[in-house]
């Protein structure tokens, strides 16, 4: 099982989540779409697409939640014929991330939810103490940061 990370402190929590919840794919990303860690992807371009889509879904459902419920919706589950996705926000101190996971009949929504709660706690515990919230990536820095993270994930740093 391979978990590739751009920041070391996320490796253990993500590795445990992947092993326990038996998910096929996992992505931990910043709400801006920058990837922090991945499991199961073989091509950088797939990670890029999945990050962009996950960030967009998260932003859309968050806004919809604000409109309908006064605050962003939490986790999102979408079931396909063979595969399902579970997308949920994770907060660690002052930083916020999104976890996207893909699973099939080898796991279940209940198991993914259960181990996601453990992942959330483990990530919060492992997170470096941040005194300020990480600023959103600027358009000028975004591509460079994204490429740096992708290079780290796919061994081309």
């Amino acid at each position: 099982m391979t978990v590739a990370v751009a920041e070391e402190w996320v490796e253990r929590p993500l590795r445990d989540f992947v092993a326990e919840a038996r998910v096929l794919l996992a992505l931990l990303l910043h709400p801006s779409g920058q990837v922090l860690a991945q499991h199961g992807f073989t091509r950088a371009v797939d990670v890029m697409s999945a990050c962009a889509l996950a960030a967009a879904i998260h932003a859309s459902s968050g806004e919809l939640g604000k409109q309908l419920d006064g605050r962003p919706f939490g986790a999102l589950h979408h079931a396909g014929r063979e595969r399902q996705i579970f997308l949920a926000p994770v907060a660690t101190g002052k930083s916020r991330f999104i976890l996207l996971s893909v699973f099939d009949q080898q796991s279940s929504l209940g198991l993914v939810q259960l181990y996601f709660e453990e992942f959330r706690a483990a990530l919060a515990k492992a997170a470096p103490i941040a005194t300020t919230q990480r600023p959103p990536a600027l358009a000028t820095d975004f591509e460079g940061e994204l490429n740096r993270n992708l290079a780290a994930l796919f061994g081309r740093a």
């Binding site: 796991s107 279940s108 929504l109 209940g110 198991l111 939810q113 259960l114």
Partner: protein
Amino acid sequence: MKSPFAEMLASLTRQRGVLGSMVVGESDGLIVDSALQVGVKGSVVAALAASLYRRARMSADAAGVGTATFLQLEAERGRVCAVGRNDLVLVALAEPRANIGLLRIEMLRAMEGLG
């Protein structure tokens, strides 16, 4: 609103030594309805018990011994019992003092009402 399983679950949980019972989706591991004593972590037990039952059912099938009928997990301080039908699993948690023979009969009877 009461689910069609509410009465059956209440009757199981009323048995001596039974800490709770629930109907869980086998494929998603989510609780459909439950009757649990305070302190039982329903969603955690549901997810894990449904996964356990599904694997037991698949093992029985792979071993060529037919459909799994009754699953009983004996632990240090009690038992987890499960029966399933139509993608639903009936799970019961019992203390060692519970009458497992009676619980088994009740669960197998209740299974007829699943789905």
